[in-house]
Every structure is written in structure tokens, then in C-alpha cells.
Symmetry: C2
Amino acid sequence: MSFSPLLKQLIEAFRVLPGVGPKSAQRMAFYLLERDREGGKALAQVLGQALKQVGHCETCRTLCEKPICLICADLQRDHSVLCVVGGPAHVAAIEQTGGYFGLYFVLSGHLSPIDGIGPQEIGVDTFTRRLSLGTVKEVVLATNSTVEGEATAYYLADLVKSHGIKVTRIAHGVPMGGELDYIDGGTLAKALIDRTLV
Amino acid sequence: MSFSPLLKQLIEAFRVLPGVGPKSAQRMAFYLLERDREGGKALAQVLGQALKQVGHCETCRTLCEKPICLICADLQRDHSVLCVVGGPAHVAAIEQTGGYFGLYFVLSGHLSPIDGIGPQEIGVDTFTRRLSLGTVKEVVLATNSTVEGEATAYYLADLVKSHGIKVTRIAHGVPMGGELDYIDGGTLAKALIDRTLV
């Protein structure tokens, strides 16, 4: 190849990003060097700083540069309800609905025994400690509806029940605005079983 | 939003990359912080270093951390042939063919008057100085076959001719392995006009 050593290194470094192959990595490197050196400098600086300072919130395990995140520190919120999600992005998704006022517990992904991801890898020990404190009255399981997410929910439901705490799962069914023609059979069957009184 | 200030800054910083929207930026930030801190550190470090050290080759204007790039410094190559391309990625594309042994001249994109990109912005002044040295006997125009690329080739052809130097354009036609059913009419017409003797 005809790139200088440093340019090759930079293209290789961009490939650590998810969804970035050799062509995109090359495009990113050239774009920053030729068109946006200021933006590139800011990215290098903020990324370095974030990797040094951002850790996990001590109570909910979300990504945060302080020991306790803003949501956990908010006394206006209902500290007796705990919503369990599979990652920090899911906290953002639920917060955007504007309809939830409890706290969160953020797992590092979902259980996946074939990938060697067991309860300890996703942070279940911290979760158990949290339950033992006795402040939580309800746990809402909002893990993904994938096989891994359902398995995680099933596992956590048992754990929460063993502490004598109420446990709920977010509803499955037809998405709002969805047409029945395009819904898969499994979802439709579940929507019929879980029908609500109007 | 429920992200900490530094996390928000990091997500915003990733959006300078070409083709990266809010969702991808969020995914990149979370991925590096949760799954690949080492890769992230390497990226921040190499990016910072490249932005400081990588400049343009003095003779061909490609991206390079030395004053003269490896290709221009290679005395085995034919210094009398100069191939003009629209960016460093195009040098890599031509080098990969293994069929070109001359030198390059790398423009910063193509002429685009509506975007305010004139001859000076893409480096035509350096190109003119290069022609004046008298070492170049043929210029191969390998700019894109887009409207901007063709306009740039047309402009440069005039300039090269005014220096009394031979100027050629890479061939247009049916791509190797291409079926005639799927070739656009313009390309097919050009392929007929430029037919070669077998």
C-alpha cells in the first residue's frame, strides 16, 4: 500500500469502532486530515479524557464520570422502583419517553452462556447487593426481547422473587401504529394472551 | 437526556466523522467505554499524533508525515509521467492495480464552483509550478468521472497543453465483467466511440 506508516496506523486505529470496515476507516482518516482537523483534535482530546474519567455509577452501574449518576442522585425520583436494562443506551431510550420516574439498574449486556457471559460478567452481584438494601419495592425488567434478553429477565425474576420483592416485565405486543398484516405470529399470539380490559 | 456531561461531549465529538449520525455516535462511545478501552486509547493517541505530524508531500501533495512521500522519493519510478487524482485514497486505488509506475499529483478534491471550490482550493498553483520544472513529459488525468471530476479534467487538460506537455485521460467504457444489460446508455455510447483495434 502507498500510505505512510502513521496514516496506516490511523486507519487501523479507526477499525476498532463498531461497524467500521477498511473503507470507512480510510474515509474517516482522510476526512479528518483533509477537511476537519479541528473536529479531529476535539475528538482525540475528549476521547482520551472520557476514557480516563468515565467509570460506572456505584449504585446503578451506568456510565458516568462521578461516583453517583444524576438519576441516582435525584431525590425527586421514586427510589422504590428499579428498572433493569441491558445498557446505558436503554436508559436514554426510556428517559426519552418521559413516562418513568423510578431508578435504573444497568447491566453490561445480557446473559449469553455460549459467549461465556454469565451473571457475574453483566453485574448481577451488584444487583443482588442493591436488592439486599431493602429500599426497592418493585423491579421492572426491561431487558431486550431477544433470546438473551428474555433469558436474562427469566433469571433475574427468580432472583428478585427470592428476595420477596415484586417483579414485573415490560409488555410485549403490537407496536403503536403497527399494522396487523406485518406483525409476526409470535408477537400477535402474545398480544392476544396479554389483552387488557378497556 | 440522561447522559453525563462528558459522555454527551464524547457522543457529540464522534459526529464529526463522515457518515456518523447521533445513533452511531452513541454506539461508538458506549462500545469503546464498555468493551474496548485499550482500542479507544490507541485511537485517541494515534489520532492526536497524526493531526500534529501528517501534512502534505511537498511535490505531490498526498498526505504524509515526511516532507517528501515514499512514491516521490522512489528513484525506480518513472518521474516523467504524472497521474493527477482527486485525493490520497485514489493513489491507493491506482497503486493496488500494480500497473502504474509513474508519479502522482494529488488534488484536494475536484473543482466545484457552486461550493466555492476553485483552482486554488484544490492545489492547481502547486501543480502549475510542478509543470514548469520541465521534468514531466506526460500528464494522465485520473480525476473522477463525475460532473466535477470531468470539469476538473477539462480545465487541467487546457493548462497542461499550454505548457506543451502531452496529456491523456483514463479510458471510459464497460467495466471488466460487466453485462451490457446493466450499463447506462452514456457509458455504452462512449465505449463504442472509443473502441480499440483487436
